[in-house]
């Protein structure tokens, strides 16, 4: 697949890649390598040339197929993408809105947690240290707290696929480790979760069993270890 933006900039260039269900993958590369664009392409958020399939469904195909992929995907994006005017709780719940029934809407909009997500949200919020932040408007949360709310939003509702774009940006080392741990251990044997974490942090990438590296929109490395020659290839342009 390729992704070309208006103006001829090719963010992803003839990439061929297969990731199995339940795999945990780190997507490494310098800024502008095409990592974020690749993640967006998996959700049908950017036009692609070539073939993309997620769980056998085409994200750029019929609306139902795209909805199936998106509703089963948890997304943590770099930067701040919370709705600042509402509470941390409503932000954390937003990832599950596609599955809400009328009573869930009523509960969510009246400051309560829809019953199907009550215990999971409380567990995840406690795990990531944001239980006290849920009532606060997102505007009043720190950058790190907002990032953790975004992480909980992605994990809530038991997604089949987790896409995280720089999930540790703005987090202190302890909280960052907890976030990476949560992504690495998400899911269960009965309900496997495929995890793709885009990062430029080598320490984060090393914690994943499979490491993909991108450079100039192309796949530069696909392996399990990161030694000096590989990182030199990714960041300095030497052949890995």
């Amino acid at each position: 697949m390729s992704v070309e933006f208006p103006g001829g900039v090719r963010a992803v260039d003839r990439l061929t890649l297969r990731i199995a269900e339940g795999e945990r993958v780190a997507l490494l590369g310098p800024s502008g390598a095409g990592k974020s664009t690749l993640l967006r392409a998996l959700l049908g958020a950017v036009p692609v040339s070539g073939r993309v399939r997620v769980g056998g469904h085409d994200p750029h195909g019929p609306r139902r197929a795209a909805a199936w992929i998106r509703s089963g995907t948890g997304v943590v994006r770099q930067g701040n993408d919370l709705v600042l005017g509402v509470s941390g709780r409503l932000n954390a719940l937003m990832g599950t809105a596609a599955t809400w029934r009328t009573r869930d809407w009523l509960r969510a909009l009246t400051g309560q947690i829809p019953a199907p997500f009550q215990s999971q949200l409380e567990t995840l919020a406690a795990q990531h240290g944001i239980l006290g932040c849920l009532r606060q408007p997102a505007r009043e949360l720190s950058g790190g707290q907002r990032q953790r709310v975004a992480l909980v939003r992605a994990l809530l509702g038991q997604p089949r696929l987790l896409l995280a774009d720089e999930p540790t940006s703005g987090l202190d080392p302890v909280t960052a480790a907890a976030a990476v741990d949560a992504l690495r251990t998400a899911g269960s044997p009965a309900r496997p979760v495929t995890v793709i974490v885009a990062t430029h942090d080598l320490a984060v990438a090393r914690q994943f069993p499979r490491i993909l590296a991108m450079r100039d929109g192309r796949l530069a490395y696909d392996g399990a270890t990161l030694d000096e020659s590989v990182t030199a290839g990714i960041y300095r342009g030497d052949q890995p």
């Binding site: 958020a45 998106r70 509703s71 995907t73 948890g74 997304v75 919370l82 600042l84 937003m94 599950t96």
Partner: protein, 288 residues
């Protein structure tokens, strides 16, 4: 720089003046033509202004001729009618004006905000619906509120109901356009984040678009209320109730003392609402 440029003398020698009898240096023709065009434009604007002033009959002479009437008006204004009976009438007219403005807002707000949601590009309503809403809003606000008032007076008869409906219809068109602009001005990142989870258009609007635009929309509603209040003083002249109707009666009867009281009441009412609206907007954190 090339070696030739480096060895060239500095400053460069000034060209000698043209010798007598030599052909004159040609002047570029673009400059006088541009100057000519500029003077022609200035002349055209002046002609247009003079034509407009003559057409309206505005002149210092007309003001001098009308000095008697003017003095009568000023005299009346300096002695406002402050009798208890008239003040009671003014008070009731002010209250009715406030009622008209609020009823107009109450009816315009849901219609206008629904229209805004349909028009705003980031909400993503189907094209035909968006186009229809945009055309409908343009029609509602394109017809002046005074004309709407005349139409409603002709339909349901004179009174505050006609005024409230006229304000509501015109206000809905305005709110739809300005509300759509507020909705489109929000940060798109949270909207995309919600949309990427498979949430539908309407649900995304409820969760990510409206909450971001809330303060701006509330500020817009308050501003519309201020506008409604000003408008409801004018539409009373065509029989649509409120203090405007009292103003029209006093003006027709040349009761300038009453007119003075009514104008003072209008000013006080508008200043009060302006102040109130500013306080509310500040409390909401919206731009004042």
């Amino acid at each position: 720089m090339t070696p030739e440029e480096l060895t060239r003398p500095w400053p460069p020698p000034t060209p000698k003046p043209a010798e007598r009898g030599a052909p004159p240096t040609p002047v570029p023709s673009a400059v006088p033509r541009r100057r000519l065009l500029r003077w022609a434009a200035v002349g055209a604007i002046l002609v247009l202004l003079v034509w407009s002033v003559q057409g309206t009959g505005v002149s210092v002479g007309a003001l001098i001729d009308g000095r008697e009437g003017g003095l009568h008006l000023v005299r009346g204004f300096l002695h406002p009618d402050l009798s208890a009976a008239f003040l009671a009438d003014v008070g009731s007219a002010v209250l009715q004006t406030v009622q008209i403005s609020l009823t107009g807002l109450l009816l315009a707000a849901p219609l206008g905000l629904a229209g805004a949601l349909l028009i705003a590009g980031n909400v993503g309503a189907p094209g035909w619906l968006r186009g229809s809403a945009r055309a409908g809003a343009a029609f509602l606000r394109g017809v002046p509120d005074l004309l709407w008032a005349l139409l409603f007076v002709a339909t349901i008869g004179p009174g505050p109901a006609a005024g409230a409906l006229a304000i509501a219809v015109h206000g809905a068109g305005l709110l739809a356009k300005l509300g759509a602009e507020q909705l489109e001005a929000i940060d798109p990142a949270p909207v995309e984040a919600v949309r990427l989870t498979g949430t539908g258009r309407a649900a995304t609007a409820v969760l990510a678009i409206i909450p971001q635009a809330r303060a701006g929309l509330a500020s817009l509603l308050l501003y519309q209320w201020e506008c409604n209040l000003r408008t409801s003083t004018v539409i009373g002249f065509v029989g649509a109730g409120g203090i405007g109707q009292e103003l029209a009666i006093s003006l027709r009867l040349f009761r300038y003392d009453e007119l003075s009281t009514l104008i003072l009441a209008v000013l006080a009412m508008i200043l009060l609402v302006d102040q109130l609206s500013r306080v509310i907007r500040r409390r909401m954190g919206a731009a004042t």
